[in-house]
Amino acid sequence: MRPENYQPVEHPASQEYELYFGPNHPGIEGNYALKVRLTGDEIVGIRADGGYLHRGFEKIMEDRLWIQNVALVPRICVPDPPPMEETYARAVEMIGGLEVPERAKWIRAMILEMSRICGHLFILGGTAAPIGQYSNMFWGVADRDYFLDLFEALTGARVYHMFITPGGVRRDIPDGFLDKLSHILDYLEARLPEYDDLFFNNPVFHKRAEGIGIITQEQALAWGVTGPNLRACGLALDVRRDDPYLIYDKLEFDIPTETSGDVLARTMVRRSEIIESIKILRQIIQHLPQIKGPIRCNLPNPLAWNLPEGDAYARTEAQKGELAFYAVSTGGAKPWRVHVRGPSSMHAVQVLEKLCLGGRIEDIALIMFSLDACPPEVDR
């Protein structure tokens, strides 16, 4: 029964209609909305509509002491927090002129690479989930859990470690930690062929992912695409190699690239990066015991710690792409301004809109996950 005053909504004589994708949608990672205009299944217009996870990090940071912000920055991006801590810490060290001890650098690199593997496992599962293959997602999350156990042993926390502080790291590695890590790396390496069988070589996945969401090299450079998404277009650009920080100039690793720039290429780049990270971690396991020394430089009383006037721009190759912090100090106990250049805000807003246009509605979620767009970091 229709109500008495029911008035059917008149639409102009058009085949187009509008659908809302999100903010609470199973195909979206985090709370993020997309307004999609469609004719049939084809996307003729799309607008990203973020802001559902806006927590105002950059503003909050201006109101806290330099050392307090250490606890704040990892929360910017949930699946991959250590690069945030590292980049912030490095910006502070650059302003304050702090020298990080050698051993701390190695430990930092170790936790960054562990986090990269974690994030890749998480997002590779994520790429499988929007096309209905939950097995890969659960496998990824289950294997990520071993690394979370390692994080717990090392830092006491599973997700937000707050481990990398300006001037060094919070604690030294516990006894037997490197053996455990080595064991988990062996396990993961043995497990990758199983992932190949289930997901990477799955013919249906190839059918879905080939030729979808293509970014060309020119577009990638023009749009500010970074990280695995850029390397999937065939450009071997990596901050770890181009602008080495910590100890990355002492390590041997390859920068995996693919040429096609589509969803499949991005997925395969992430798979290869897991292998590279395992390689890096093996080198760290080999070298770390020989490097003795403190894990932290001498810091003044953190509650009365005034940084000198100045600014610094620190950048890191995070799991999702190039992450940078621009911090400005006016000589006080608090930052005057901290700006975060997150990789996802480029990928999730402009790039996602452009890639989805002209595609089909089923591919939106797949493209979004393949770009590894992280809504918490987009909104910040």
Partner: protein, 348 residues
Amino acid sequence: MEALYYLLLTLVKILIIVIPLMLCVAYLTYAERKIIGFMQVRLGPNRVNLSIIPIIGRIRGFGQPIADAVKLMFKEIMIPSNADRFLFVIAPVLAMAPALAAWAVIPFADGLVLSDINAGLLYILAMSSIGVYGVIVAGWASNSKYALLGSLRSAAQIISYEIAMGFALVGVLMAAGSLNLGEIVSAQQGNFLHWFWLPLLPLFLVYLISGVAETNRAPFDVAEGESEIVGFHVEYSGMLFAVFFLAEYANMILISALTTLMFMGGWLSPFEGIPVLEPLFAWVPGIFWFLAKVSSVLFFFLWIRATFPRYRYDQIMRLGWKVFIPITLVWILVLGVLILMKLPPWFA
């Protein structure tokens, strides 16, 4: 008096089929969650147990289907204000009824069938075609864009795959020379190499895959692809939703039973005519073989759900029209030649 007696007897027979069937449906959901959980390195339901049932009830999670049913029964049924109330309520019934009605002609063992009609295969085709109305009506009556889109996709998919399925059944009909399901099984007399899956291998595969598509199961579950448009039953809740859910699983069991009957020798023992094994397994009743085969087909359904990503909608349609229908047409031709040549052992 005679008529009343007949009516009562038939009613009892129907109950004897439907009640175990509904139990199977309920525990298929449990099996699915457990099996897929095992494949996905997690536990699946492991909290509710039924300690009143002696040994089996102590399995962790064994009471989960019952707990789910109770939960859904107590949930409020929400009807959107601009929905067509009558069609909205009738749609789940339209989806469920054909899935149950088709069981009337399924023989569980030799002669163990509710109604032994000669046009059994036609009746099955008719019944499984009606099921799509439930989907269309649900999408239409919900008055929601997402539901309508989901139902249109689902309807187009079911109808496309029904053609391939129908052609596959034409092959079975040609090979068996009968529309009666019991006679189709009898035509496959012999060990497992005599069953129709071997001479009709392409049709068997097409039928199996079309069956997955027909029931809207992964990897053909675009109708309810939760990461795309959520599906034709977005607006449903409570018991009305549960009926859709039950219909899906009842359809799965039905398709498995039909595959068993038409391609895997129904209640026949796989070891018939094999020297040592036949006497060894002679005591096993036919219904056991039937149920075992149905279970293995169901396991296959669950297995591919855990293994394959979803096809895109246009890929599904292309697969149906450009691959499956030509395959079945060609194989029907080949089959005609095989039958004319009286190829042993199947058509001698």
